[in-house]
């Protein structure tokens, strides 16, 4: 079961390791997150089959979903799995947010429930 998570992280991190794939994800995020395969491929200087392979990797990692309607395929972002990568990284976050932990403790008191994860400017005030 921990093994499974390992494999998932392998897939996610190696999916994110390629700049073209990151660009594809970025495009899906900024555009109305449901582009056809050809629309998606257009800005890139690689062939369509190459983009297909990238899409296969991305959906293999669970980061996108495809939906076929007629002869066109809409691709939409499905970035929930990225949360797992974030979780893994969070373990190391203390190294660059040491002094923010005080604040974190405060927040856990203030807002009984949970701490947020959408900071405006995360690290700039640290200079280490």
């Amino acid at each position: 079961m921990v093994k499974y998570q390992e494999a998932e992280l392998n897939d996610i991190f190696s999916a994110l390791a390629d700049p073209t794939r990151r660009a594809l994800l970025a495009r899906l995020e900024e555009d109305d997150d449901a582009l056809s395969v050809s629309e998606l491929a257009a800005p890139f200087d690689v062939s369509l089959p190459a983009v297909m392979k990238h899409l296969n990797v991305l959906s293999g990692a669970g980061l996108i979903a495809r939906q076929k309607t007629g002869r066109t395929v809409r691709v939409r972002l499905q970035p929930e799995k990225m949360a797992h990568a974030m979780e893994w990284l969070r373990r190391y976050e203390r190294f660059w947010t040491d002094r923010l932990d005080r604040l974190a403790a405060f927040v856990e008191n203030a807002a009984q429930n949970e701490t947020p994860t959408h900071p405006a400017t995360p690290q700039d005030q640290e200079d280490r």
Copy 2:
């Protein structure tokens, strides 16, 4: 300059894509974060040269640093670069933390300064 960041992300994400390398980092994080190469390699069932290669990849990505004293080499964690990976991922964070944004806003008010990024249980309350 954006190109440079791209290359850096390539290195970081592909360094993290291998389970052995993640385990090495985890070991460096939990132990007193300065182990010798042999100590570091001991728990793994791969050869020392294989571990060496992983360490090369990790230091190539700037995630560890080596310091030679006599004939032993201490390896220490240097996870600051992971912040860049986090930053990249943060762009997508809204997809799984929609309703936490209210809380984030609250925190930004409460603690003028900054929001923390060390939550205890990040995503469970979302079910989408």
